[in-house]
């Protein structure tokens, strides 16, 4: 049977208000956590691939217990196997450690197709897909924007500087996805009821020592206060500022 693994990261909602306290992002102040949007595209492709091939899907996330939600959300869409990688001693893992943890699990799963987003919505490093592929000795195709997983030979399309290229990979392989027009489907009530009974396997991994230490998080600089112009007589001044200062026209 074809096996698919999809890597899902839990991130703050993209509209969540992020506060920094004592030089660190205050995670307790984040009210809504979601699946990283690029990972959602990967999950949708995985589900379509499953529907076409009868594959089984294993969803893997790395994170504390709150990250179970992304796995339950995936289960509500029909994902059978759920794995969360975590050790309570872990804190602020660097990219090497993340890749080590995920690769360890993926070796055990033995997936033919490994899908993930091109980058996470919080760290935006874009290192997980290629890094995992390197560790597993697999090729990697990044920033896929279209796909056809209905036939025996799935194909994937990505944008290049000279147009699009359509690729037909031989598994096992790692594929990362960018924004596409096909959004992740919604669950339904029956799927949510099934997810209620889904079992999440929690495992640890040997990830070695961190090479990168976070010194401090700093909030982005506050936007300068807006300027207000009134009356038709201010139009030339506004146009001049847009052209010469903001350089948008």
């Amino acid at each position: 049977m074809v096996t698919i693994a999809v890597l899902l990261k839990q991130v703050p909602d993209t509209t969540a208000r992020i506060t920094v306290s004592d030089g660190r992002v205050d995670e307790t102040a984040i009210s809504t956590w979601v699946t990283s949007p690029y990972d959602e595209y990967a999950l949708e492709v995985a589900i379509q691939h499953k529907e076409a091939s009868g594959a089984s899907i294993t969803a893997i996330t790395l994170g504390p217990p709150r990250a179970d939600k992304v796995l339950k959300d995936a289960a509500a869409l029909g994902v059978e196997n759920l794995v969360r990688v975590w050790d309570d001693a872990w804190e602020s893992l660097d990219s090497n450690q993340v890749q080590a943890a995920l690769s360890t699990i993926l070796e055990g799963v033995g997936a033919d197709w490994i899908y993930c987003g091109k980058q996470s919505a919080d760290r935006n490093q874009g290192s997980t897909g290629p890094g995992v592929a390197e560790r597993l000795g697999m090729a990697c195709i990044v920033e896929i924007s279209d796909w056809d997983v209905t036939g025996a030979q799935p194909s994937f399309t990505r944008a290049t500087s000279s147009g699009n290229e359509r690729l037909a990979p031989t598994p096992p392989i790692v594929l990362t996805f960018t924004k596409t027009e096909t959004e992740l489907r919604r669950p339904n009530v029956r799927g949510i009821m099934a997810a209620k009974k889904a079992n999440i396997e929690v495992v640890g991994a040997d990830i070695g020592d961190a090479q990168v230490q976070v010194v401090a998080h700093n909030p982005p600089p506050q936007k300068p206060e807006g300027r207000k112009f009134e009356g038709a007589e201010s139009v030339p001044e506004v146009v001049g500022l847009l052209r010469n200062e903001a350089k948008v026209i």
Partner: protein
């Protein structure tokens, strides 16, 4: 900004993961499909058919029933769905209420095994639409005196009479019709193509415009004998359906109120008068605080009632209180929101007037506000005041 709802008393912590997931599913759908399209649907006076399909695909139709394609979720989960649907529009929640509580529920609880197998899976998926015929032109709050009757004619029952104010009637494939057989109220399943049955749409509504409202007309309407609901007699049948629908309304009204509250808050913070946002004025803050107060009370009432329903301990009087209170507060909040929005409040750029007009109907359907007061009055005093000799 992702819509998060009002949660001043951390109701989120009282919900199970599944209840939150179902609520979020409905919320996302309403945000993506209903909110951008509802004003046009109201102008056109239609319930978009794709919403029927979507509600079926999401599995929210009859979602608290067990088996036969239904999910068997908690009534709290069902209530949360009603809240989100009515945040979009009362017409959307009405569609789901009628399908699940008024049409599927009586088949599920009072129907034969064959009836359940024939109708429920297709109604749960939204393939078949159901409606509920109790109210008549001359008998609304007093359904016990209904005129519609059924006559046993050997292999068939023959129905004669008319029902009015029937949500989904014209688009329904299946109608649950309450009629007197030998003087006893019984439930019958009428199918859209049955001879002698018609369901003309009622037009000219200023309220619930994105909802189909119809008459049901029976002129020697002949239905097979196996279409009677075998396991219920008397007003207990329709009243138990209405209890479930009223429960959905008490959550739905909270959704409509939240929509008006959010619009009011955003408007008050952005509308500048006398050099300040009107949200800075004490009179406006007083209104917003009142809205928050009433919505929070309504939420706690709905949640408490839902937990009682799931535990099997609710009473009809508790349902009356919740339905009456929550619709009343939602309507008052809609009127207050109109006031905060000033002239802009009458435009369909904002959801206010639509919710207000809808809630005027919700206040008097599924038991009028006054009748619910009389139910409570009877509970308090032990004296029923519905009928008296004058």
């Amino acid at each position: 900004m992702t819509y998060e709802g009002v949660d001043f008393y951390d109701i989120e912590s009282e919900l199970t993961d599944e209840e939150k997931m179902v609520r979020d599913m409905a919320r996302d759908w309403v945000e993506a499909e209903v909110v951008p399209n509802i004003e046009q649907a109201c102008r056109d006076g239609v319930f978009p058919d794709e919403w029927r399909v979507a509600l079926g695909e999401m599995g929210v139709l009859g979602m608290a029933l067990d088996g036969y394609g239904c999910a068997g979720m908690s009534y709290v989960a069902y209530g949360l769905v009603c809240q989100e649907l009515e945040r979009g529009d009362s017409g959307v929640r009405s569609f789901a209420s009628v399908q699940g509580s008024l049409a599927m529920y009586p088949i599920h609880d009072f129907g034969s095994e064959e009836q359940k197998q024939k109708y429920l899976p297709k109604m749960a998926s939204g393939e078949w639409v159901g409606c509920f015929g109790l109210t008549e032109p001359d008998y609304g709050s007093n359904p016990g005196d209904m005129i519609t009757k059924a006559v046993d004619e050997g292999d068939d029952y023959v129905l004669n009479g008319a029902k009015m104010w029937i949500t989904n009637g014209t688009i329904a494939d299946v109608a649950i019709v309450w009629a007197k057989l030998d003087g006893v109220i019984r439930g019958f399943i009428v199918e859209k193509d049955d001879p002698g049955f018609s369901a003309p749409e009622m037009t000219g509504k200023y309220s619930l415009r994105a909802s189909v409202t119809s008459e049901l007309v029976f002129q020697d309407c002949k239905i097979p004998k196996d279409r009677i609901l075998p396991h219920v007699e008397g007003l207990k049948g329709p009243f138990s359906c209405l209890n479930n629908a009223r429960y959905g309304i008490c959550w739905g009204a909270v959704g409509a109120a939240q929509s008006c509250f959010h619009s009011s808050k955003e408007y008050a913070l952005s509308r500048i008068q006398f050099g300040n946002p009107i949200a800075a004025f004490q009179l406006v803050q007083n209104k917003l605080a009142w809205m928050l107060r009433e919505i929070t009370k309504g939420q706690l009432l709905a949640l408490s009632l839902g937990r009682k329903k799931d535990a099997g301990t609710w009473t009809p009087e508790q349902i009356s209180l919740a339905k009456m209170n929550n619709v009343d507060m939602a309507l008052e909040i809609a009127r207050m929101a109109r006031d905060i929005h000033g002239a802009n409040g009458i435009l369909d750029e904002y959801p206010i007037m639509r919710h207000m007009a809808n809630l005027e109907s919700v206040k008097t359907y599924e038991g009028t506000h006054d009748i619910h007061n009389l139910i409570l009055g009877r509970h308090i005093t032990g004296i029923q005041s519905f009928t008296r000799e004058l």
